[in-house]
């Protein structure tokens, strides 16, 4: 099944991402929603900026989802939507949704996708605090 993958500078429609994976063939839908927290490493966050190298991000996301289909052949449908640009506190930054016939695999596949996305997908996060900004994870 063609996965629903996108990177957008518009607010993410979570309901649409969930609807994209629902099917009568799969009774289990697991989803992960990442939202902007008001703090990071003890510092108050004011807002976030995500930058994306879109073409590579979508290529790598495709690889991640292909790996998930290989690991969980029962996987029915996958949707991944990542936001870019400037986000306010509470805004949805990413949604991963997967549908499988049985529930344990829905959790495992969804967790694999978000964990691997964070390792390989070319999106960068700059946090803005009261007193400056920082590229997250850039330095050891």
């Amino acid at each position: 099944m063609t996965p629903h993958l996108s990177i957008t500078d518009q607010p993410i429609d979570v309901a649409a991402a969930l609807a994209a994976v629902q099917t009568e063939a799969a009774g289990a839908v697991n989803s992960f929603i990442g939202t902007v927290r008001n703090q990071s490493g003890g510092r108050r966050v004011r807002r976030l900026h995500y930058e994306s190298y879109d073409s590579m991000a979508l290529t790598q996301l495709g690889h991640v989802v292909a790996q998930a289909y290989a690991k969980w052949p029962m996987l029915e449908k996958v949707a991944v939507v990542h936001r870019k640009g400037t986000l306010a506190l509470g805004d949805v930054a990413v949604v991963v949704a997967v549908a499988t016939p049985h529930r344990a695999e829905s959790f495992a596949a969804c967790q694999f996708i978000i964990d691997t996305l964070k390792q390989v997908v070319t999106i960068w996060k700059r946090e803005e605090y009261e007193d400056g900004t920082e590229w997250v994870a850039a330095h050891p």
Binding site: E51, K118, W124, A138
Partner: protein, 80 residues
């Protein structure tokens, strides 16, 4: 052979521009390119990691670079 390198995130801040053009003779491999850039921009060496992407794929150090390749520096990603 000239190369054009796209810069993202902190690498763009370090270099001070969104793309970098290296005139011929440019580094012939991914590893040589990284050595060249780290020598010219020492702050790149302080990053947790800095990969090179060729045509939207992570590239190993021995991969050859050509003028038609889409090349990018990839500092530590932080999506999600």
């Amino acid at each position: 052979m000239a190369l054009k390198i796209a810069l993202f995130g902190i690498t763009r801040d370090i270099v001070g521009q969104p793309t970098l053009e290296l005139p011929a003779p440019a580094p012939a491999t991914v590893g040589a390119l990284l050595d060249h850039l780290r020598a010219n921009y020492p702050a790149l060496g302080q990053l947790r990691s800095c990969a090179v992407a060729v045509n939207n794929e992570y590239a190993p150090a021995d991969q050859a670079l050509g003028p038609n390749d889409e090349i990018a520096l990839i500092p530590p990603v932080a999506g999600g």
